[in-house]
């Protein structure tokens, strides 16, 4: 009987402990050294002097976001190490202060607040409007520059505030690329749109694709549209509707894993129409799920190295961790964010306050960054006019076809 009571108590305590883990993460700030994915600190052994420039990172180090924030943090660390090894920023080393947002929207706000209170100079957030926005808003409240990368058009001036910048070209540019490349280069005339409603990114992207398609190809030329959820175990009904339509192509606005599953099911049911995916299909870790995938294109985020299928940053990750990153895009964006801050500080003659950095960043026109040419204005902090790299998959093998810049981009918040 006593044993039974003890076991029950243990069960209750385990549950409470688990609940506490989820609710209170901010009290245990992690430094770059403490993160499991790091191999070295960022401010050690560097030929720098002077006060460090402290960059706060609100990232999901635990929970499901670690799949994307883990590589992001690694990218930021690689960039910081490179900069510190080369003498820092005006002689000052870069130091990273990491707060675990635990893949939780509420925790992201707490992390933002904690980093502000710790006196960081600027902030990097989770690359997502829903999960990164709360931390970015805390930075904005104290006129601190924050950088994130997300497709959602609200991850900029109008949605967050005047001190938040986005390294990603955003959904309008991505949608325009899909539509114009599909229409002009691949000869799509009657596409079928499959929208994944699970997150704002994929849902909003398909809305913008439809809007831009209507302006490029004319109203009434979309063969049909349908929706699904990323974790639907079957999209049989949607596929039957595609088959019953007169579509000549399919545009799948989704992300991995559900996007890959959708492709597997579409090809499995014998639909061999050309398919256009999204930038979330970048990388090759998912291709095995779709045996012999062919006639599939996606727009890949641009980088300073051109070919998105062969990037020297990947070698640096292999050097550090012994294995390539699973998800590359996020690694590149946070790597770029650190260099964007470095360039801005240098252009602001070493100033690190939000107003000085903003004054510089808002004048950028096609500034070189690791994520490609970047333009910011006081009204728009999303580099909408950046081209995308087009990648084609034939028989499961990726091939970079070159960069593509759409002629116009649907108007939106930025």
């Amino acid at each position: 009987m006593h044993r039974s009571i003890a076991l029950r108590l243990m069960a209750v305590i385990s549950v409470l402990a688990l609940a506490a883990c989820g609710a209170n993460g901010a009290s245990t700030p992690t430094t770059a050294e403490a993160s499991p994915s790091t191999t070295a600190g960022t401010a050690t052994n560097s030929p720098t002097s002077g006060d460090p420039i402290v960059i706060g990172l609100s990232k999901g180090i635990t929970g499901w976001w670690v799949a994307f924030d883990g590589p992001g943090l690694l990218g930021a660390q690689i960039a910081a190490d490179e900069i510190n090894d080369a003498g820092g920023v005006g002689g000052r080393p870069i130091e990273l202060e990491v707060c675990d947002a635990k893949s939780d929207v509420n925790q992201a706000a707490a992390c933002g607040l904690e980093l502000v209170e710790k006196g960081v100079d600027m902030m990097l957030t989770t690359c997502d409007y829903d999960f990164g926005g709360p931390a970015a808003r805390e930075a904005n409240k104290v006129n601190m520059v924050s950088i994130g990368c997300a497709g959602a058009t609200n991850f900029g001036v109008q949605g967050i505030g005047p001190y938040h910048y986005n390294t990603y070209a955003g959904n309008p540019a991505e949608a325009a690329t899909i539509v114009e490349y599909g229409y002009k280069e691949l000869g799509f005339r009657k596409p079928y749109l499959l929208a994944d409603l699970t997150i704002e990114y994929s849902k909003n992207l398909c809305e913008l694709v439809e809007e831009h398609w209507n302006s490029v190809a004319g109203e009434g030329t979309i063969a049909g549209k349908d929706t699904f959820m990323n974790d639907d175990p079957s999209i049989a009904a949607q596929i039957s509707k595609v088959k019953a339509s007169d579509a000549d192509s399919v545009i799948v606005c989704s992300f991995i894993p559900g996007g890959g599953s959708a492709l597997r099911q579409i090809r499995g049911e014998g639909i061999d129409l050309p398919i256009f995916g999204t930038s979330s299909f970048d990388g090759d870790y998912w291709i095995e799920a779709v045996p012999g995938l062919s006639d599939f294109h996606y727009p890949a985020p641009l980088s300073q190295w051109g070919d998105p299928t062969d990037n020297p940053l990947i070698d640096k990750v292999i050097e550090r961790n012994g294995a390539p990153p699973d998800v590359f895009t996020y690694l590149l964006h946070d790597y770029s964010a650190i260099y964007i801050l470095k360039t801005a500080i240098e252009q602001a003659n070493g100033a690190t306050d939000g107003d000085s950095l903003k004054a510089v960043l808002d004048t950028w026109v096609n500034q070189d960054t690791p994520t490609g040419p970047t333009t910011y204005t006081p009204e728009c902090h999303i580099p909408l006019d950046r081209p995308f790299g087009i990648v084609k998959i034939t028989d499961g093998v990726r091939e970079y076809l070159g960069d593509f810049k759409p002629e116009s981009v649907p108007p939106s918040n930025c």
């Binding site: 044993r3 039974s4 076991l7 029950r8 069960a11 209750v12 385990s14 549950v15 688990l18 635990t62 929970g63 499901w64 976001w65 670690v66 799949a67 883990g70 409603l197 009434g220 049909g224 549209k225 349908d226 929706t227 959820m229 974790d231 639907d232 175990p233 079957s234 049989a236 009904a237 949607q238 039957s240 509707k241 088959k243 019953a244 339509s245 991995i256 894993p257 559900g258 890959g260 599953s261 597997r264 099911q265 090809r267 499995g268 049911e269 014998g270 870790y285 998912w286 291709i287 095995e288 799920a289 779709v290 045996p291 012999g292 699973d326 998800v327």
Partner: protein
């Protein structure tokens, strides 16, 4: 053409036949989910939230052992998931068996979180990908109809499992004891039914159902994630409640009805209303429950408990 007109225009006899096939296939998967939940609930009153994690662990086994031949891999998956189900019963659920339903529920949540986070810690939260079998992702073509082989396998497997389970519960000694326990656990124990034995068998069977569900999901989607168990369990609960909580036949019926409803709404709803597909579906389920609070088939065990 408006979206509504468009969805009406495509409804031809072939399309309807395709929709019926889709419904049966999706319904079979839901029925498998629901049966695993209903079996445990019927016998020990436990709404096992960790059932989804059994499916998830099965999926990871399929991904990690992808170099094995398909038959061996499926066998390993079934054995491992059954063993895990037995382990959970022994370590987590047996000590709290006499506790209130709320304690049982919280325990199952704790087990569910634990397994999810163990997987995240071990394999990360990046989806793990496999191509279980290229043959499985191909389709049979009959006239203008195409039926993925996996759909046929899903339906055949579900029917085989349901038949075996019915025979097992109806004919075998332990099966009869399980049914007796499901109707009145206390009376069954007084009559000499060994509780540990019966409950462990129920968990083993639910493990088997979870492993088969994992094979069918991975065959379809090709990817395993730590949170992939959530969706099956949610649908299993709804199917179980719709069919009549505690009734095994009800759970299967609920699964097929839910599958049919999902496909029907996906086909019939104009695209503007599709974001509300699940809300509408659950609304219909609620409406059914208003008229039949006990579900479509009332379990005998529930009469005395309510």
């Amino acid at each position: 053409m408006t979206d509504t007109a468009m969805s009406l225009a495509v409804i031809t006899p072939e399309f309807l036949a395709q929709a019926v096939i889709d419904s049966i296939s999706v319904g079979s998967i839901y029925a498998l989910f629901a049966l695993g939940i209903a079996l445990i609930f019927g016998i020990m009153g436990l709404m096992n939230f960790a059932h989804g994690e059994l499916i998830m662990v099965g999926a990871y086994i399929l991904v990690l052992g992808k170099d094995l031949p398909l038959v061996s891999l499926v066998a390993v998956c079934v054995v491992a998931v059954v063993l895990l189900a037995l382990l959970l019963e022994r370590v987590a659920f047996r000590p709290v068996r006499q506790a209130t339903p709320a304690t049982l529920l919280v325990t199952s949540f704790a087990v569910s979180f634990l397994l999810q986070n163990l997987i995240i810690q071990t394999f990360g939260s990046v989806p793990r990908i496999t191509n279980l079998s290229t043959t499985l992702s191909e389709a049979f073509t009959i006239g203008s109809l195409s039926i993925p082989k996996l759909n046929v396998i899903t339906v055949v497997l579900t029917i085989m499992l349901l038949t075996s389970l019915t025979l097992f519960l109806g004919r075998s000694s332990i099966g009869v004891q399980m049914r007796a326990s499901a109707e009145d656990f206390l009376m069954a124990r007084l009559l000499g039914v060994k509780a540990n034995h019966v409950i462990a068998t129920a968990f083993a069977v639910s493990g088997l159902l979870a492993a088969v569900a994992a094979v069918l999901i991975i065959g379809r989607t090709g990817s395993a994630t730590p949170t992939m168990g959530l969706y099956p369990v949610l649908y299993a609960f709804i199917a179980t409640i719709l069919g009549g909580i505690g009734s095994l036949t009800g759970a299967v019926l609920g699964g097929y009805l839910l599958g049919g409803l999902t496909v029907a709404l996906q086909v019939a709803l104009p695209v503007e209303l599709q974001p509300f597909r699940d809300a509408l579906m659950f609304g219909i389920v609620f409406a059914v429950l208003v008229f039949r609070p006990q579900g479509l088939i009332e379990a005998k065990s529930m009469e005395s408990r309510v």
